[in-house]
């Protein structure tokens, strides 16, 4: 148990010390909630480097390397700007939360396992072998990726088959970040009481979402994807709209590591990058977001999957590896070009053009094979209202999203609206690029991936409550 706690603490401290580099714009409280996911992201990027370039993964050495790098970053930051009481306090809070979470996860053993989980756990055993990527199932390399196996490889250090604490850690830190974001985006917009009621009910809404809570204990990639997408989208908005440009660094790291969690992640990343391309982001923000994605994209898709995955070197627009590389490359080029002065007036429409293109592609797919769409619609409807165990979560969220999209006047709103609409379109397009229509049942991937977008959607709902035409008048605060 002590070893598993040590791993949790190691990842948290790694994230904390690395995040000292962004102290100027990211508050100590925010860094506390970012520490575990950012530490894990740094570990994952180091793991990808090790697996692709060395061929194997030594989890202990990789974690120590990340910790060492973080300590160097922290040392430079402290020498330059000194150390603040807040920094130490919030870091200790983060470590304390990691310890308590790991302790609770091990004490009560809340893990949920399915055969899907088993494939990830088996893959984690493979990655630590001499030729880890060759040992791992070649199809699983694409369909399951190495994000979760690489994280679960840390269990190798403690002599267990899997880490029970991993999911709960992402769940708790993700929830903390959600609460921090909800408080942050409503700051100064509402009276204290109304603000706390709004934030409190939003947190309660998230906590009552059966599938999202389930994902915190389920060995699969969903809670990680939900956490990282929240960091990516919220971080970009804070960097662009609030002028807190250093938020782009954790945001870029989070976006990059989604690439090693899910096969559809390159398309999700492309949507987010095209949003950045059309935004007011300066070149520094763009580079901070792009560089980790390019590094992970080249290493993992270009070198790792291309060489080891089943059909990895197939050249076709719909091939999982080649198509993903093209999507990432196009989005990166647009993102860079959009920052150039002369292109900017045109670039500001790129995100809308991207969404329109995605909608047209979906329309083409539907026209080509309407059966897949109708079956997906039926399965999704049944999953959302009953069979997917979402209870009222999405029924309410979708209705509220429609209203929020109409009334919102959020500054730089498209950083939120384009990804949310883009993810929705992608959801309907994905059945055409996988094996078929979404199916009825909580276990279908269509039902499971809905968890990735819930926290992002909910923060948008909260933002829309404080930035809409109805709250433009002076009496808005008291009317809530």
């Amino acid at each position: 148990m002590i070893s598993e706690i040590a791993i949790a603490v190691g990842l948290t401290i790694a994230g904390s010390v690395l995040l000292t580099a962004v102290r100027r714009d990211v508050t100590a409280a925010a860094r506390c909630w970012l520490s575990l996911p950012v530490g894990a992201a740094a570990y994952l990027i180091a793991a990808v480097v090790s697996l692709v370039l060395v061929g194997t993964l030594d989890p202990a050495m990789t974690l120590l390397t990340v910790l060492g790098l973080g300590l160097v970053v922290a040392a430079v930051s402290i020498i330059r700007d000194g150390i603040r009481r807040d920094d130490v306090l919030w870091m200790l809070v983060g470590v304390g939360i990691a310890v308590v979470t790991a302790l609770a996860a091990r004490q009560w053993h809340l893990t949920r396992l399915t055969p899907d989980s088993l494939r990830y756990v088996l893959a984690s055993n493979d990655l630590v072998l001499a030729e880890g990527l060759r040992e791992m199932n070649a199809t699983d390399l694409v369909t399951r990726q190495i994000g979760l196996p690489a994280l679960q490889s840390l269990s190798d250090m403690v002599g267990r088959d899997y880490l029970a604490a991993l999911g709960p850690l992402f769940g708790v830190f993700g929830l903390g970040l959600f609460a921090w974001l909800a408080l942050e985006v409503t700051r100064g917009a509402l009276g204290r009481r109304n603000r706390l009621i709004l934030v409190g009910t939003a947190i309660l809404f998230l906590l009552s979402s059966n599938r999202l809570v389930y994902d915190s204990f389920y060995i699969n990639t969903h809670i990680q994807m939900a956490s990282y997408l929240l960091i990516a989208v919220a971080g970009i908005w804070l960097a662009v709209s609030r002028g807190l440009s250093l938020w782009a660094i954790p945001s870029g790291l989070a976006l990059a590591v989604t690439l090693v969690f899910r096969p559809e992640a390159p398309l999700v990343v492309a949507i987010v990058l095209v949003t950045v391309a059309a935004s007011r982001a300066n070149m520094s923000i763009r580079l901070d977001v792009i560089v980790p994605t390019v590094a992970v994209g080249i290493l993992w898709y270009g070198l790792g999957l291309w060489r080891y995955a089943a059909g990895g070197n197939e050249i076709s627009p719909t091939a999982p590896v080649f198509g993903s590389l093209v999507a990432i490359a196009v989005a990166v080029v647009l993102c860079l070009a959009g920052g150039a002065g002369r292109v900017r007036p045109w670039a500001r429409w790129l995100d809308l053009a991207g969404v329109a293109g995605l909608a047209l592609l979906l329309a083409f797919y539907v026209a080509t094979d309407p059966t897949v769409f109708s079956m997906s619609v039926e399965a999704t409807a049944r999953n959302l209202v009953r069979d997917g165990f979402w209870l009222l979560t999405w029924v309410a969220a979708i209705a509220l999203l429609v209203v929020a999209l109409i009334v919102q006047v959020i500054p730089d709103a498209r950083v939120w609206t384009v990804p949310i609409i883009g993810f929705a379109l992608l959801y309907w397009a994905l059945p055409y690029v996988r094996e078929g229509a979404w199916r009825v049942g909580a276990g279908d991937s269509g039902n499971r991936i809905l968890a990735h977008y819930l926290a992002v959607s909910l923060i948008f709902l909260v933002l829309a409550a404080v930035h809409n035409r109805g709250v433009a008048s002076a009496d808005r605060v008291e009317s809530v």
């Binding site: 055969p115 199809t139 267990r160 029970a164 809404f205 009552s208 009334v407 109805g470």
Partner: protein, 172 residues
């Protein structure tokens, strides 16, 4: 601020309503969600204790040599269902390995579709099977190519279930 007959006025009013009632909508949804959660099937429970937190090796060392990656199982819901076993066949099953198991006794299975409704984790390709005595529940997963069925007895014996005995696949 737009006048009442201005095209944007209705959006303004809608915005006011949205801001005023969003907490109520979120809170009410959460309360209903929490109230309905106990009525979900057991497999939907976000929190379920798991006996020992470890995967147990199913096959012997020499059999692992056939396919090192095959041979783990997980135990789920033992407190609730008296032993629901997941045997991960997937693409790892092969005839040579299965032959090794064939020396075990084959258990007679009496498939009870109703049993499939209890405690099935969220795996489409998975079915619950109950023995005739009704005191043991197996979870059996077919291989990707050849349809092999494995089951495990309470004493740890692993058996290959022939097609003639195995139940017809029923989606959960």
């Amino acid at each position: 601020m737009p006048k009442p007959d201005h095209p944007r006025a209705w959006r303004q009013r809608l915005g006011t309503v949205y801001t005023r009632y969003l907490p109520a909508a979120l809170g009410l949804t959460a309360v209903v969600n929490l109230a309905l959660t106990p009525f979900l099937p057991g497999s939907a429970a976000p929190i379920r204790t798991h006996r020992d937190g470890s995967l147990t090796e199913l096959v012997h060392t020499e059999q692992r040599a056939v396919d090192r990656r095959f041979g783990f199982y997980m135990e789920l819901d033992d407190a609730t269902n008296g032993g629901t076993l997941i045997v991960p066949m997937g693409s790892f099953v092969n005839a040579e390995l299965a032959e090794g198991f064939a020396s075990f006794d084959v258990v007679e299975l009496d498939y009870d579709p109703a049993a499939g409704a209890t405690g099935v984790p969220e795996v489409p390709e998975q079915w619950l099977v109950e023995t005739e005595s009704g005191d043991l529940v197996f979870s059996i997963i077919p291989g990707n190519d050849d349809l092999w069925w494995l089951a495990e007895r309470p004493n740890g014996d692993v058996v290959v279930v022939p097609d003639s005995v195995a139940p017809a696949p029923v989606s959960p």
